[in-house]
């Protein structure tokens, strides 16, 4: 383990913005994609249920 | 006013139904402005010196290409006739359509422009001026372009006429717009250019809808 402290870890040797932005953006994309797909799935099911009950 | 809102809402709704169309204008702008470095070479100094011109020309082209469709669909499916028969001032309805067009095609370009400016190594203050100049100038492009779009409708062979009519009118906007950015790049004030741009847009707002309405009546005959 090469980090002196959590603060050092978060500071990333002065490159915090660049590093955390990169990883954060990636995480955000992943989370957004999964949530969006779940919503889409639910919406599709809801609509076909309406059609089925008609 | 009611019909005005109806037209605005309808056009926005249509744009929303075809969201990909809106995105397409943006991507067109993005792609066209990425083509120039490929043709010219990657030298940042050269790129930054031509950036104002390139970005403004790209914005102008994106606007112009999307404009041709402003009334064409309405003309083809007959809703233009119905608009002409609405018991409202046609010029007013035209402003609604033009506003919708600007919101859908002009505004996104304005917002995307700084990102592309970064690729052209534009400095920060020039980026700001770029956004402002586009914000002030693109409404004029939409308004003037509407006249051309209306004229192209019926008079089929008049493509040249329209280009001749509209592009010269675009040129002042281009010159002031690109000039504003270039001025701020060279450390001068862009104020004068920007006020001229705003004046162009105001003038266009007053005159263009009337001309467009007249052109539409001629085209539909």
């Amino acid at each position: 383990m090469q980090w002196a402290s959590w603060a050092a870890f978060f500071n990333m040797g002065g490159y915090a913005f660049y590093v955390w932005f990169s990883f954060g953006l990636t995480a955000l994309c992943v989370v957004w994609e999964v949530i969006a797909l779940r919503k889409r799935n639910a919406a599709a099911l809801r609509l076909s249920k309406l059609l089925a009950q008609e | 006013m009611n019909a005005w809102l109806t037209v605005l809402k309808r056009d926005l709704l249509l744009a929303f139904r075809r969201r990909s169309d809106v995105a397409t204008t943006l991507f067109f702008f993005l792609i066209v402005s990425s083509l120039f470095p490929l043709g010219i070479g990657p030298e940042p100094a050269v790129l930054s010196s031509i950036a104002p011109g390139v970005l403004w020309v790209a914005a102008l082209l994106a606007g112009m290409i999307s404009l041709t469709r402003l009334f064409a669909a309405d003309f083809a499916d007959g809703s233009l006739e119905q608009m002409l028969l609405a018991p409202q001032s046609l010029a007013l309805l035209v402003t609604a359509k033009t506003l919708a067009h600007w919101l859908v095609c002009g505004l996104p370009v304005v917002l995307l422009a700084p990102l592309i400016g970064l690729q052209y190594a534009l400095p920060n203050n020039a980026l700001l001026v770029l956004v402002f100049s586009l914000l002030l100038g693109t409404p004029a492009l939409s308004l003037i372009g509407a006249i051309g779009a209306a004229l192209t409708l019926g008079v089929r062979g008049s493509g040249l006429l329209v280009a001749l009519l509209v592009l010269p009118l675009y040129i002042p906007v281009l010159i002031f717009g690109a000039g504003a950015v270039a001025a701020s790049q060279h450390g001068m004030s862009a104020q004068a250019h920007l006020s001229l741009l705003a004046a162009c847009s105001l003038l266009a707002l007053v005159l263009a809808p009337l001309a467009t309405a007249a052109a539409l009546r001629i085209s539909v005959e």
């Binding site: 090469q2 994309c29 | 990657p42 690729q119």
Partner: protein, 251 residues
């Protein structure tokens, strides 16, 4: 052999199968990602030239790899769909495209974020960067084309054709861009000069890449399920399914 293939290539049978596969891939992706992140941040040593900023490599490179691999896979599915008129293949191609575009975007943005501290600029017109940008355009074109065609069958086939045309062009584009920037080569920046990678770095990148792979599969399966539901909304099996899912929700 043949019979099996056709059985699983019908949406009705593939839908539940995909549903069963998704958790497996999702968990694999999560585990690999955690391992990869551990290597990237805890094990991999600080780079003596670039400092800590180099850790961006652990998302940047896998994302860049994925962006290219997904395009190839997508074109293959599209080609199969077009040749055999197989609906499922076309749906897979359609399901992959957005994920590919997302990875391309990630590669571009993380690359920029890396470039700013390293090169002092967000963007240079370097061959690799430029071809990545063009790849993004190709993805967007594919997505936009499919989005603007309403008949799904037609959208499938038009998209497939475009993907194939793109696949023929990608190598041409890649080499032309490469040649272009080496000929001009005005800037002093050269990405090839990245430091020799330590074994741990390589390992970290590989594991992250694997995690992205698993994630891609899971997400593509999820998306293909949505597409099936939307397209076959009036088919009996979808109606039954939707009624069942609702009653399960209530219970």
């Amino acid at each position: 052999m043949n019979i099996n293939w056709f059985k699983y290539s019908s949406p009705q049978t593939f839908y539940p199968l995909a549903g069963k596969m998704i958790p497996w891939f999702a968990w694999l992706a999560a585990i690999l990602a955690i391992a990869g992140l551990y290597i990237s941040f805890a094990i991999a040593p600080t780079d003596f030239q670039q400092g800590e900023a180099y850790r961006i490599i652990f998302v940047h490179v896998p994302a860049a790899w994925m962006s290219m691999v997904i395009y190839i896979v997508m074109a293959c599915w599209a080609g199969i769909g077009l040749a055999l008129n197989a609906r499922l293949s076309a749906m897979m191609a359609q399901a992959l495209a957005p994920t590919g575009a997302v990875f391309t975007l990630i590669a571009l943005v993380t690359g920029s974020l890396w470039g700013k501290p390293m090169w002092g600029t967000w963007w240079v017109w370097d061959a690799r960067l430029t071809s990545e940008l063009i790849l993004l355009f190709l993805y967007l074109g594919f997505i936009a084309l499919q989005a603007s065609i309403d008949d799904p069958r037609k959208a499938d086939r038009a998209g497939a054709l475009l993907a194939l045309v793109g696949a023929v062009n990608v190598p041409i584009i890649y080499f032309s861009v490469k040649w272009w920037s080496t000929l001009h080569q005005g800037s002093s920046i050269n990405m090839g000069a990245a430091p020799k990678m330590a074994a741990t770095m390589l390992l970290g990148m590989l594991i992250m890449a694997l995690a992205f792979w698993m994630y891609t599969i899971a997400v593509a399966l999820m998306r293909v399920r949505c597409i099936m539901l939307e397209r076959e909304r009036s088919a009996d099996w979808v109606k039954e399914l939707s009624l069942k899912s609702a009653s399960r929700g209530k219970a």
